[in-house]
């Protein structure tokens, strides 16, 4: 009787699940401790109300964007710590056991999953939130409440993926959890379930965001901003969100089927009863390959803005850039099989996908030339964003060439699952997405805060990053050629790999130092903010977001601008036009709503309850989500008016400054 009730309430959770080895326990205690400290601080300074009113319930994309970035930075530190542990183990070469095999597997699974879903995706959505509305001359996104739901689902997934540090274990099946290893038979524990539900919840949030920003771009552009007058970053976001709309439902379906295999004894991906593990691998990459472009397209967009601004020239080949972006968007759905040439689909299928992979390199190459020609004869200013851009050109071309090398199926049989591959995709994602994010962060930071980031510390961070990055990954290309496969927790010393692994480990440490300098840069810049004041147009910008107040008002635009040409703000600065007294109108903005955060919290509880098989709790939280949604959707009064007089008062203050 008692055992029955215990099982009903707690599922398969037992006190033993809280016991961890020292490293994980340390990380878990650290995380929980930091959380408790933050809560004590909030209570001590009586800031709970402030947190609830200005952040948690906010539907303002500028606030939501900042929250995305904060989560991403914390997760970047977690992922980096994972990387340090992995490389330490490998540098030791198995002679000293830093991590046991199981823990090592959990860490590389967590590292990959966190870096893609909770760092890269978080950064992309953070930047979308901050930049897209401003750059198209809009005050808000199309669906502000949905935006808040997306963020809180993302946050719920983030908490679930970190929960194994405290209770239970994480998946040891790699970042994409291939079956049959991830099936019930070989992974009976909660690890893979943590992986599934964390990604499922965050993934649905991403899908909703994708729809939201797509509609925002299609419907909310300022009058006159035709498609071909949009900033390139908006084009890249349009491509990225289109990919989200097509790719993320596949992820939802695939994760759903894997969950059904594990929860209900189905046989989609099992190796018996007719199941097909290879089907999973096809499906997950039909999402996974577009995902790569979902991440990197916005980075291309950021670099296009940065290089044009800091070269003082308009972007070279705008039209070809748009065509290249569109081509990549389309082609990214035609190459997924190159992730498993070794599956044995046959020479003809492999050849087709090999050729498509080479084809997709062409539009990417076009972009590289466009960026270089933008700098040509420009008045290039070597600011930190520009350094990240130039670092990107070097690393991205290097990684891209490695990618083309791997697109040859015959050669791929050698590279497959080797460290050469690991080096390739790190070059693309770190050198592409992350460098893009850093460039964008430095570039747009003054717009939202009113002060610059410290250039000197930023440059030191950049050089540490690029040197550390090359030291960390060039040895992996070589090790890959030597036959080292990915995910090795030990290897025979006679292979002679240890030296290169040590170099790679040192590289990661230098990267970590770079991250340290970035954090220092933020702190120092905040302290010196009085000295580093930035105006409304600190870099000599070209696009609309630089025409707003710094930091932007809640309503961003007092009067919605009318666009007449590409780089409209740049052109309008050149013209000597008379300032016409603006006519202000009432502005409607969404009211705050706690429903998004409540849905996120309930989704997290639902995920945890499903992972631990707590049936009643899962049902209660699911019903709770539905009730919250019904209440919210039947609420009519969701907007608040800022009257024209208030806007005029606010704008008067702005012009006085």
């Amino acid at each position: 009787m008692w055992a029955g009730i215990q099982e009903l309430v707690f599922g398969r959770l037992t006190p033993a699940d809280f016991v961890h080895d020292p490293i994980m326990a340390g990380a878990g205690i650290g995380m929980v401790g930091a959380l408790v400290l933050a809560m004590i601080a909030l209570t001590y300074f009586k800031k709970w109300k402030w947190l609830w009113k200005t952040w948690i319930t906010s539907l303002d994309p500028k606030k939501i964007g900042v929250m995305y970035l904060i989560v991403s930075v914390i997760m970047l530190l977690r992922g980096l710590a994972d990387a340090l542990l992995l490389r330490t183990q490998q540098a030791a070469g198995g002679s000293v056991e830093v991590l046991n095999a199981d823990h090592f597997q959990q860490i590389f699974s967590a590292h990959g999953t966190i870096m893609i879903f909770f760092v890269a995706m978080g950064i992309i959505f953070g930047i979308f939130n901050l930049i897209i509305p401003q750059q198209i001359g809009a005050r808000d996104v199309a669906f502000p409440f949905l935006n808040s739901v997306s963020f809180w689902l993302f946050a719920a997934g983030m908490i679930l993926i970190n929960a194994p540090l405290v209770v239970g274990e994480f998946s040891a099946a790699g970042w994409l959890a291939y079956p049959p290893l991830s099936g019930l038979q070989y992974s009976p524990g909660v690890g893979v379930d943590y992986w599934i539900w964390s990604l499922q919840i965050a993934g649905i949030g991403s899908l909703l965001s994708g729809i939201n920003f797509f509609v925002t771009i299609i419907k909310m552009r300022a009058p006159g901003m035709t498609l071909m007058k949009m900033p390139i970053f908006i084009w890249s976001a349009l491509g990225s969100t289109s990919l989200i709309m097509f790719a993320f439902p596949i992820l939802t379906a695939t994760l759903g089927m894997l969950a059904l295999d594990r929860l209900m004894g189905m046989h989609f991906f099992t190796s018996d009863m007719g199941g097909s593990p290879m089907l999973y691998i096809n499906l997950i990459w039909a999402w996974g390959h577009p995902e790569v472009y979902i991440l990197v397209l916005p980075a291309f967009g950021i670099f296009s803005e940065v290089v044009a601004t800091f070269s003082g020239k308009k972007l070279f080949g705008y039209k070809s850039m748009v065509i290249a972006l569109a081509a990549i968007t389309f082609l990214s759905f035609t190459v997924w099989l190159h992730h498993f040439f070794t599956m044995g689909a046959g020479a003809d299928v492999n050849t087709l996908f090999g050729i498509m992979t080479m084809v997709i390199a062409i539009p990417t190459g076009v972009k590289v030339f466009n960026w270089i020609f933008t700098m040509y004869r420009g008045r290039v200013r070597f600011t930190t964003p520009m350094l990240w851009f130039m670092g990107f050109i070097v690393t991205f071309t290097l990684g891209g060439l490695a990618g083309v090398a791997m697109s040859v199926p015959a050669a791929d049989f050698q590279f497959h699952n080797s460290l050469f591959l690991v080096a390739h995709f790190h070059t693309m994602i770190v050198g592409g997405v992350l460098f893009g994010a850093f460039a964008g962060f430095t570039y747009w930071f003054p717009k939202f805060t009113g002060f610059y980031l410290n250039e000197k510390l930023g440059k030191i961070a950049f050089w540490l990053w690029i040197v550390g990055f090359l030291l960390a990954f060039v040895p992996l290309y070589i090790l890959g050629f030597m036959g080292a496969t990915r995910r090795l927790d030990h290897y025979d010393p006679s292979l002679g790999w240890q030296g290169l692994f040590i170099v790679a480990g040192v590289g990661v440490m230098i990267i970590a130092a770079g991250v340290g300098f970035q954090l220092l840069q933020i702190v120092v810049s905040i302290i010196q903010r009085k000295k580093n004041r930035a105006g409304e147009d600190p870099w000599g910008g070209r696009t609309l977001e630089w025409s707003t107040a710094t930091p932007p008002a809640e309503y961003v635009y007092a009067v919605i601008p009318t666009v007449t040409e590409r780089d409209d703000f740049w052109e309008s600065k050149k013209k000597k036009h008379h300032k016409v007294a603006p006519v202000y109108e009432d502005i409607w903005l969404p009211k705050n709503s706690g429903a998004g955060a409540i849905i996120g919290l309930l989704a997290m509880i639902f995920g945890a309850a499903t992972i631990w098989h707590m049936v009643p709790l899962a049902i209660i939280s699911f019903v709770g989500i539905i009730i919250t949604l019904i209440i919210r959707l039947t609420t009519d009064d969701t907007e608040v008016k800022i009257s024209a007089a208030e806007v005029a008062k606010h704008e008067l203050k702005r012009s006085a400054v």
């Binding site: 939201n212 419907k219 709309m245 379906a253 089927m257 059904l260 989609f268 018996d272």
Partner: protein, 199 residues
């Protein structure tokens, strides 16, 4: 018409257009989800692991009746929307209730089919084919259930409150959703049941 109400109307129209486009796109993403499940079903159709195939399991006349019920419900929701556009509140509620009843009947028939199969020992655990069958058809059924919930909330609102523009908009979106589920069902009927019975 005063300037203020004109602006209100523009705002209202813009909001409606955004929601309609957003909802269309949501439907398209849902279609991709169904496409993934259809592809999975196509791959696993013959993976019966020694168990029964579709030809041995499906009761076509039963499924045809299910199909007819669902198609009729699409017709009744259309009548409800026509009624709402003319402001006939009673007519709207009547046809929505009819849609609700038909939806419940459809769902009940589907669950009957499922429980029969399970009772005969042919549940989703029997083979990959049956896993794919239950998941594809069940996902559609889940959508129908969500639709019924939505419909229920709308009916309650219509009965209790005055007709408003937002109700009309939501009804139009619901119509899209319900027709969409019809289209998906036509594919399920053709690919899963008809082709499955032939093999």
């Amino acid at each position: 018409m005063s300037d203020v109400t004109l602006k209100e109307e523009v705002r209202e129209k813009e909001a409606r257009e955004k929601k309609t486009l957003g909802f269309w796109i949501y439907l398209m993403t849902d279609l991709v989800l169904f496409a993934s499940l259809f592809a999975t079903f196509a791959v696993l159709r013959t993976a019966t692991a020694g168990g029964p195939s579709g030809a041995e399991l499906f009761d076509l006349p039963f499924v045809l009746l299910e199909t007819m019920i669902l198609l009729t419900s699409s017709f009744t929701v259309g009548l409800a929307i026509l009624g709402a556009a003319r402001g006939y509140k009673k007519q709207t509620i009547f046809w929505l209730l009819a849609t609700f009843a038909l939806g419940v009947a459809f769902l009940a028939m589907e669950l009957t089919e499922f429980s029969h199969l399970a009772a005969e020992g042919f549940s989703w655990e029997r083979s990959a084919f049956l896993s794919a069958f239950f998941t594809l058809v069940g996902t559609h059924g889940l959508h129908i259930a969500v639709g019924l919930l939505w419909l229920g909330v709308m009916i309650v609102r219509l009965v209790r409150f005055k007709f408003k523009q937002t109700d009309l908009n939501r009804l139009a979106l619901f119509g899209l959703f319900w027709h969409f589920l019809d289209v998906v069902w036509i594919f399920i009927f053709s690919i899963v049941y008809l082709i499955g019975s032939m093999a």
